[in-house]
């Protein structure tokens, strides 16, 4: 790859968010165990994992999912309990960017 002077190692800027294909990969790997939602202090009871997964990547975003995305504050509490090592916070960030771009 062309070297640009942007060193993407641990000492400087690191890739903190995930790209669309990476988010899609993680969504496909989700087993729907709900552990991330159980550990989330921002979610209200009106959101289910299958609806969240379905609406994260593309398509219309329903009101409960949008409200969850607006309430999520990226604390990362959802990452540790995931039994398959997925990053729900990155998926939520993708959802936030979608909302941001749509508004």
């Amino acid at each position: 790859m062309f070297k640009t002077g942007l060193k993407r190692d641990a000492n400087t800027a690191v890739m903190l968010h995930k790209t669309g294909p990476q988010v899609a990969q993680e969504l496909h790997a989700c087993i729907g165990c709900n552990e991330c939602l159980h550990a989330c202090p921002a979610v209200t009871a009106s959101v289910t994992i299958d609806v969240l997964n379905r609406e994260t990547l593309s398509g219309p975003i329903s009101a409960p999912v949008a409200q969850f995305a607006r309430a999520c504050y990226q604390c990362g509490a959802c990452v540790a309990p995931c039994p398959v090592g997925l990053h729900r916070d990155a998926m939520m960030m993708w959802l936030k960017v979608r909302l941001l771009r749509s508004g």
Binding site: T4, A13, T19, G20, H38, P41, A45, C72, L100, G103
Partner: protein, 329 residues
């Protein structure tokens, strides 16, 4: 009209607004907290006007102290227990616990403030109260940051991703790579290198002596190929236009006297891409900073809670030393 109605449900929610209201159980909690503070405050006003014993160590003062301490303990313990509970939680239960954590914290501070009855002498109780004020304020600031920073992070991520959701750095790098390849190929055509004939090029690739690997693409049966088929491709000679990979900045604009100054000789836009790349880099650094703020503010709040706990214990020991002899006699 019918067409509009048909499209609206498919459109879904839009916008990542700064101000939004979440209904549900949080409002009940806020109403309960507001009522309790109003009742406690009303009694405080009535008591200070009609009683001559409005002091922290009076019976009512102690009642306020016990209530305030109880609320702060509930704020600290219930949420911590709920967060670390191994039993199966329901979705949304932790959100309710967080709301009560905030509610109990505000209630505790209000009741302990009333417990002081305006006596802010430089004693242990005053320090404990200051600690609690700092703790509750840090929690309020934390809630504000929790709302502000994710929106700032989303803006930075928006800058770092393409419209299709791909990594923008990769995207720009590929464009830069294409420009560099195009320009360096053009340069090969413009500037003939004296003495850089086919033989020199081939000898620079294949060692003159020693074993030649069969895997080497320019050798056949241990014999180096002296007539490379594509000099522009295999030459390792550095061209003046080629980017210096160690240098901090790149110069894509050639000398005015050069043949490369001819319009269309070099593919333009490299500098713009470099600026764009630097902007993405800055966006990622800002994203990282905002994430650090979210993480470390939480740690700061916990540290402040521990400090306040220490100050409260100090004050309780001090108060017990004053009160216990009185109660015993």
């Amino acid at each position: 009209m019918a067409a509009t109605d048909h499209r609206e449900p498919n459109k879904g929610e839009v916008g990542y607004s700064w101000l939004f209201f979440s209904g549900g159980r949080a409002w009940y909690m806020r109403v309960v907290v507001a009522l309790l503070i109003a009742l406690g405050g009303a009694f405080y006003v009535w008591y200070t006007r009609h009683s001559g014993d409005a002091a922290p160590d009076s019976l009512i003062g102690l009642a306020y102290a016990i209530a305030g301490t109880l609320f702060l303990l509930l704020a600290a313990i219930l949420y911590a227990l709920r967060r670390h509970a191994r039993s199966k939680r329901k979705v949304g239960q932790l959100n309710g616990a967080l709301n009560w954590h905030i509610g109990f914290g505000v209630l505790g501070l209000a009741f302990l403030f009333m417990h002081s009855f305006g006596n802010f002498n430089p004693r242990s109780g005053t320090y404990a109260l200051y600690g609690m004020i700092a703790l509750v304020v840090s929690g309020a600031v934390g809630r504000f940051l929790d709302r502000l920073l994710p929106r700032l992070i989303a803006r930075q991520v928006h800058k770092a991703l393409t419209a299709q959701g791909d990594d923008r750095i990769e995207n720009i790098s590929e464009k830069l790579q294409a420009i560099v390849v195009h320009n360096s190929q053009n340069l090969q055509g413009f500037i003939p290198v004296p003495g850089a004939g086919p033989h020199k090029a081939s000898t620079s690739l294949v060692p003159a002596s020693g074993p030649v690997s069969n895997d080497f693409p320019f050798a056949y049966k241990d014999q180096p190929l002296h007539t490379p088929w594509d000099l522009a491709y295999i030459s390792l000679e550095a061209t003046p236009q080629e980017l210096s990979r160690e240098a901090g900045q790149y110069r894509f604009i050639p000398d005015k006297k050069s043949e490369l100054a001819r319009p269309g000789a070099l593919m333009p836009g490299a500098q713009e891409h470099i600026y764009e790349l630097q902007e993405v880099e800055r966006a990622m650094q800002r994203e990282q900073f905002y994430r650090y703020v979210i993480r470390y503010w939480r740690k700061f709040h916990i540290a402040l809670a521990l400090l306040t706990l220490g100050l409260t214990i100090w004050h309780l020991i001090y108060a017990a030393q004053l009160l216990l002899p009185t109660i015993m006699h």
